[in-house]
Amino acid sequence: MHIPDGYLSPSTCAVMYTAAAPFWYVATKKMKKELSTRMVPLMSIFAAFSFVIMMFNIPVPDGTTAHAVGGTLMAIVLGPWAATLGVSIALMVQAIFFGDGGILAFGANCFNMAIVLPFVGYAVYRIISANAPPGSARHWLGGAIGSYVGINTASLCAAIEFGIQPVLFHTSNGTPLYCPYGLSQAIPAMMLAHLTVAGIAEMAVTGGVIAFLQKTMPVVMTLRLGREART
């Protein structure tokens, strides 16, 4: 889901930076207010986890590959705003040092994976786990289902960003200038990859890590108790 440079027109990239900017702004404000320095090591760990989990490419039946992101997991443990910052940092390191995802497309990639993904995933988790006591199975179950919805919503966003390119940006004879595949190709391809393998991987990672934390480090799962009312 890391859109490289060249697939989106510069104007699309500008729009996506503009869409992401207010989320980055609010996220830093929120962190200033809510983040205690004791949570910083965990934030680093989950951002690094998101990075490394994205390196586990999984084959998709159509010959392409996809991967989990871990953004919903971070949102559940540290809050969606922390997830926005954490995943954005992971995406920045991927773009700058490893050429994974473009520099112009960084706003779009953050919008999809660091904003849409954790917020949607977290919202679904909150609905499923509402009023569940700490340690309840509804936490890991809600996390798993939420992360599945989150990564698929994100991939739909990416597919739309890809798919509008050939309609909007082409030469006078109709040859696409950027991503040559329209919505009718981008949406099924992206959704196939994420409804199947990447979504399942994301569910397993999110549900598995939450269940693990509940069992071995329950304090990590209750960090946000009392803060949730304010988010």
Partner: protein, 101 residues
């Protein structure tokens, strides 16, 4: 926080296992390079060709120059995680409030 060390060890294990991600040989949808485009389409979209090498990453595609594919991938995982931890830690120290326990 107690137990954080265990999570760091977990990250190290994931980095060592990361080359499993190399077994999937294809490219992610929408992440093809210029050469793959000329093979797939017979041409490279003009704008795409112009912007695609805007930025030269020091470790492109997680392959460290001079190292094998697998060892380069593992080293990339460690380098990337170290950078992310340093950056996140730095930002967290600046933004976070010191709360006494």
């Amino acid at each position: 926080m107690k137990g954080t060390a265990r999570l760091f060890i977990g990250l190290g294990i994931l980095a060592i296992l990361s080359p499993l991600g190399l077994m999937a040989s294809g490219t992610a949808w929408g992440e093809w390079g210029v050469e793959e485009f000329s093979k797939m389409l017979g041409y490279v979209p003009q704008g795409l060709a112009r912007l695609s090498d805007l930025w030269k990453a020091p470790i492109p595609d997680y392959s460290v120059p001079g190292l094998g594919e697998v060892s380069g991938y593992v080293l990339s995982a460690f380098i990337g995680m170290a950078l992310i931890i340093i950056i996140t830690w730095g930002i967290g120290r600046i933004l976070g409030q010191k709360l006494e326990k």
